[in-house]
Symmetry: C2
Subunit: 355 residues, 2 copies
Amino acid sequence: MKIAVLPGDGIGPEIIAEAVKVLEVLNLGLEMETAPVGGAGYEAAGHPLPPATLKLAQEADAILFGAVGDWKYDTLDRPLRPEQAILGLRKALGLFANFRPAICYKELTHASSLKPELVAGLDILIIRELTGDIYFGAPRGRRVAPDGHFPGSEEAFDTMRYSRPEIERIAHVAFQAAQKRDKRVTSVDKSNVLETFQLWKDVVTEVAKQYPDVALDHMYVDNAAMQLVKEPKRFDVVVTGNMFGDILSDEASMLTGSIGMLPSASLNDKKQGLYEPSHGSAPDIAGKGIANPLATILSAAMMLRFSLGMEEAALKIEAAVQKVLADGLRTADIYSEGTTKVSTSQMGDAVVKAL
Amino acid sequence: MKIAVLPGDGIGPEIIAEAVKVLEVLNLGLEMETAPVGGAGYEAAGHPLPPATLKLAQEADAILFGAVGDWKYDTLDRPLRPEQAILGLRKALGLFANFRPAICYKELTHASSLKPELVAGLDILIIRELTGDIYFGAPRGRRVAPDGHFPGSEEAFDTMRYSRPEIERIAHVAFQAAQKRDKRVTSVDKSNVLETFQLWKDVVTEVAKQYPDVALDHMYVDNAAMQLVKEPKRFDVVVTGNMFGDILSDEASMLTGSIGMLPSASLNDKKQGLYEPSHGSAPDIAGKGIANPLATILSAAMMLRFSLGMEEAALKIEAAVQKVLADGLRTADIYSEGTTKVSTSQMGDAVVKAL
Ligand SMILES: CC(C)[C@H](C(=O)O)[C@@H](O)C(=O)O
Ligand SMILES: CC(C)[C@H](C(=O)O)[C@@H](O)C(=O)O
């Protein structure tokens, strides 16, 4: 099995190093090859997704991804900015199904902005469609406004779109995920305003008929943003489009109070996947050895489960992470009085030891 | 001065009755005329925004609006559904500037999902552009996909667009609002992905030069959804497009824990405005006399201030609402032990008495 290891920018290299450490100690016979991506790709080869990196990713069974982005690339033209690497990988590999768990760990409940009773035991799985919607819809660009409020003035535009099969395949992913959980799916749309999401709602409703054991409800995106704050535990699986999923998955992560703990997976129909922490590259703390590697280590566990069929090894890693938490080890982002503050590499070492 | 009073559906008529009561006791010489809208418009005249209602709204100096929507209209064709009335009014009157305050009242801090220290004293003003973006962008519809992942299959699409002058005018509204507050504007975009919001960011940055006393920062919408949960008090004025504003303004309202207290205003360039509570029509509690009329009463105060130039009367209403809260009067939605539970009309009467 071949893994493309793409550390990226900011804290990316530090957290990836710990995840690699954990994978190596498990002796799974993985062939891991590292390549630059994001700002590091731009420095090394003049492009955030250098051709050699893309080729490696395409040929690998899975990609272990750190994080990309740094203020210093803000002035580059958009096609050269670090985050284009991630959009490019999603598109090139067809990674349409994004899994974003929002889990509140028992030991970390107090770290949430929300009152403990609202988040204790929280376990939401957000399934975000990742290769369609307004992210990739054409046409897009700038032009002279042909009509509208100010015809003749400069305007910019983008196209939101979803086709029936694109919605069907992500709906199947959501219903099948729900079957392994609490058997409830909330489909988030804006069908009261958007044609795209009226089709979304219609198709999800049709696909639901194939899953009579799963309960489906529909919610407008504005209401979903409210219900996540008001009563997050009402959700089991949430399925939505690329744009709404971007917003809601981040909102949900932050509700847990410990975004440094949350992994993610982005899969295509061949079970190839990109695995990355839900948090960003945090350039402000890069190189200080204080970043939390657990989201990346848990992403490696998801990789073993989803792309490599190594469920047992995945469970081992997850149990080891539970153990270090139970032992009171904390990186700075999740530290609280009475626990033991550790560095990035100490945390990685502790997971290795727990294995 | 002429006011179009549009009660609408669900709890709309009950809460509007209390706001009208409050306006009448102030003896401001307002001419108030009532007309059906939403589901009530459909029942009365076969359309959610009957021509006579629209005409009344267009000729009025301001619109006092209750709420629209009820499950029983869910099966109607989209153009006949209640919420089309509100989209129709925004479009016909050019109500491009939506003011959505998210305020946490001292007496109600405990009602928030968030820990009290995170929301005590919260006072955010979200300015949402309301007549552009993907809400009204053409072309839109269903078709056979000309390209994309599944060419030839059925697809639905919408167009997101903003022109330079549309962005300029809402940016001016935001900067001018900030000048009367803490002099900070956060512009929310998704310029890393969308052409529309790259133009948005560019134009807001240019307009900012005319307001050297106001500090501007930019935030991606996914990050804004997170920061609202993590540290809501970091925001003063937030300005964003129609779609992102829909989501973020609802998220922010819910953070306060007392959406039953939050008014809103939607203005055009002639200071004509539509004033409505931030909450919905709540058909489940309609007719029970338990709805909170304060958001609607405070919307009437905003109406006096923004559209009728009656600042003094607006301040009087706001002070009266503060007084009934301080006196411990609460409708069911904001009730807590040790306070006095009152009905919708008792709350309206108490505000009248405090005046
Ligand atoms: C970096 C950006 C393009 C990306 C997105 O919007 O999808 C990020 O926010 C994410 O959620 O992975
Ligand atoms: C009812 C709906 C069309 C409307 C919107 O999306 O703008 C509502 O959610 C609002 O925010 O006023």
